[in-house]
């Protein structure tokens, strides 16, 4: 059981900013070639050594830097960190999708990566055919697929439609089938990115169940998630990444609490001056998001007793779109505390939006959220049904406990919400009176 499953030594990955742009054209290359200095810079950087790009070179970004760790067989490692910390890059390197720029990793056993379910699903093929194809893409042997075929179909609950092209499936059936194939893949090392967990709650539960099963049955698991509760319960160890480097590595409870305590306060006000760098797409693009108290200075702390605002400013790029925002507020445990959408009274609700800049403000009353770090996931919905943009952790803010209402007790206040509910205490009868009656 103590055999090494993964040994990573000083793994590093550098990206050129903009390298992930849709594509380059020959014309760009010709233009670059006409500028000898730039060309030289590029060709050198193809073989980067750890100290090659000077720190002043802003074109380069280390997605992962000098990361070393060892994972024993049967360990379940949870990887945490904010967006852009290098978590997904690490998984991509370990699953051989992309090469590291520096360092190396030795991997013992077959790796199965669930970075996204349904990869390679073809709408024209039937459920049966897609199971075979998708299984092969994930790296399952044909025998393995055949052996588990019935299980997969039952798990997905699509028995009746197994010979129907998946383009006729409902989106729910499609997702269930895709997940079922992925879940029945049993590699030596299972790599899971949280994307697996998007979908409805029922779906997330199943996913978690399968993950737990894999971890308990002694499979080596690498799990990236923002769901701290899941990491804490499923993983035997946690790795915290920030800026591509390892910040902490150890028992999940300790690493998670350190992570939550130190890393998150900076994300309560974000402004994107350059639209092309802001989250969004060709339909909608964010400009500014922030959390601020209803009264007082915007940078004042938010207490349990403070009513506060969640403000989202965004550009609508298409005239006539029917948009609404949806905010998912998560607590430290990864539980959705609430989901807020515009109410009937909201001015622009149900009206076509002209092109332009909009601001939505969501008023959160005092005595609603419990203390702790909260994260907001933003969804932009069109026609009340279609999610056209989604950003995790668009805002991260801390709700602080000012000690009010605690009556001298300083333990952890349990619960996802902390309402101040109307409460009466009446003295119906005193025991002195009872004693007197008896006497």
């Amino acid at each position: 059981m103590t055999d090494v499953a993964i040994r990573a030594v000083e793994l590093g990955k550098i990206y050129r900013l903009g390298e992930r742009q849709p594509y380059r054209t020959l014309r760009d290359a010709v233009a670059a070639a006409a500028t000898p200095a730039r060309l030289r810079c590029r060709s050198r950087a193809r073989r980067v050594t750890p100290d090659a790009p000077a720190s002043s070179d802003r074109d380069w970004i280390w997605a992962l830097r000098d990361l070393s760790f060892e994972l024993s067989e049967g360990e379940a490692l949870g990887i945490i960190g904010r967006n852009g910390a290098g978590k997904s890059t690490l998984l991509k390197i370990l699953s051989q999708i992309t090469e590291p720029t520096t360092g190396e990793a030795v991997i013992v056993g077959r790796v199965g990566a669930l970075l996204e379910v349904g990869t390679g699903f073809h709408p024209e093929l039937t459920g049966r055919e897609n199971i075979a194809l998708n299984g092969a893409i994930l790296g399952m042997r044909r025998k393995e697929i055949e052996r588990r075929f019935d299980e997969i179909v039952t798990f997905a609950g699509v028995e009746r439609f197994i010979d129907t092209p998946v383009k006729r499936y409902s989106s729910g059936m499609h997702a269930r089938l895709a997940f079922a194939v992925a879940a029945h893949h049993e590699p030596d090392i299972l790599i899971v990115d949280e994307v697996l967990a998007v979908g409805d709650t029922e779906f997330q539960k199943r996913c978690m169940g399968k993950m737990g099963q894999a971890a308990r049955s002694g499979r080596t698991v690498l799990f990236v998630s923002h769901n701290m509760a899941a990491i804490e319960s499923l993983c035997s160890r946690a790795l915290w990444l920030d800026g591509g480097r390892c910040v902490a590595d150890g028992a999940p409870a300790k690493v998670i609490s350190d992570y939550l305590a130190t890393s998150l306060s900076a994300l309560n006000d974000r402004l994107w001056a350059q639209p092309d760098l802001a989250p969004g797409n060709e339909r909608v693009r964010l400009r500014r998001v922030r959390v601020r108290p209803e009264q007082g200075a915007p940078e004042d702390p938010i207490l349990v007793t403070t009513p506060f605002l969640i403000e989202i400013e965004y550009w609508n790029m298409r005239a006539g779109a029917h948009l609404n925002l949806s905010l998912h507020v998560y607590n430290e445990q990864g539980v959705i505390v609430f989901n807020a959408v515009p109410t009937e009274e909201t001015l622009w609700r149900g009206r076509p939006f002209p092109r332009g800049l909009f601001r939505d403000s969501c008023h959160v009353p005092a005595h609603l959220l419990n203390d702790g770090v909260h994260r907001i996931e933003l969804l932009v919905v069109e026609d009340a049904a279609r999610v056209i943009h989604r950003t995790d952790d668009i805002l991260v803010f801390d709700v602080r406990d000012d000690g009010e209402g605690r009556s001298g007790w300083y333990g952890r206040w349990p619960g996802a919400v902390r309402p101040r509910l109307a409460w009466e205490t009446e003295c119906l009868v005193t025991s002195d009176a009872v004693a007197q009656d008896d006497g």
Partner: protein, 279 residues
């Protein structure tokens, strides 16, 4: 739980630089994926089309009709004793296979973008499967060619035994070109627009509508630098058996294909490591 407890494979992930060789063992390990991708391409190609697999025949057949009319009858191009329609169709069958393979495989990596960024497998499988899947269309068109030969009363000689070699040569030629184009396409989407033009241009410089004997004897070797010249003349010789075997010209074609493929594989492997980051 696996009954087949095979020895655990150890993989080392490290930066590679410069030229790297093709790893045949790894390709062999992924043969099932190769099979499934080919099978999918075949299955999906004519879904929801009215004519279905007839498309595989229709395209070369209509071209043959047009060629027979304009080049055969009106321009009076010599077809060396063979009826012109058969002469043209015997070339159009391998040509169509080559042209569709190059078009499909050349765009294959870009079209499988999601797979490239989500799952690991030897990327070479993608263009190779695309080429292989076109062989099914080829087989259908080939049956029609045999039917035409029957109609025109042409019985092949023993030279037909050499035909499998020319089929393989056509497939390898397509693969060699596709390996270059598909890898370049990941970097430069210009390739997508280049392919139709390239294929059209290539048709004119290949002996499809005319025999290669139109090219002066002394230039025949140079003409062989176009590997499709060797393939097409090979087809005509093996099936129709009128002309002499395409000797030195074929040898040149084979050498060109070998060089093109070797270079293409090296180039592909060199680019492969950055596919997921760039595509």
């Amino acid at each position: 739980m696996d009954q087949t407890t095979t020895a655990r494979r150890t993989t080392t992930v490290r930066p590679t630089s410069g030229w790297v060789a093709v790893r045949p063992r790894e390709l062999w390990d992924y043969r099932e994926l190769f099979y499934f991708l080919t099978w999918r391409d075949v299955k999906v190609r004519y879904k929801q089309t009215a004519f279905g697999a007839a498309w595989a025949v229709l395209q070369p057949f209509m071209t043959m009709v047009a060629f027979s009319l304009f080049f055969g009858s009106l321009a009076g191009i010599s077809s060396g004793g063979v009826p012109y329609p058969v002469f043209a169709f015997a070339a159009l069958v391998p040509w169509t296979f080559f042209a569709t393979s190059v078009a499909l495989a050349g765009n294959s990596l870009v079209e499988h973008e999601r797979m490239l960024t989500k799952v690991y497998f030897p990327r070479l499988i993608v263009p190779a499967a695309a080429v292989l899947s076109c062989l099914v269309d080829f087989a259908i068109a080939f049956l029609v060619l045999l039917g035409m030969m029957l109609v025109y009363g042409i019985t092949p000689s023993t030279a037909i035994l050499a035909l499998p070699f020319f089929v393989v040569l056509a497939a390898v030629t397509a693969l060699a070109v596709a390996v270059w184009l598909s890898a370049l396409n990941v970097l430069y989407r210009d390739v997508r627009y280049t392919i139709p033009f390239l294929v059209q241009f290539w048709l004119f410089v290949s002996p499809v509508a005319y025999p290669s004997s139109l090219v002066p004897e002394s230039w025949r070797m140079v003409y062989g630098l176009n590997p499709m010249a060797g393939v097409i003349e090979g087809f005509r010789w093996a099936l129709l058996g009128e002309s002499d075997p395409p000797g030195p010209m074929l040898a040149v074609s084979v050498l060109v294909v070998a060089a093109l493929l070797a270079g293409g594989l090296l180039f592909f492997r060199r680019m492969e490591r950055s596919f997921a980051d760039v595509v």
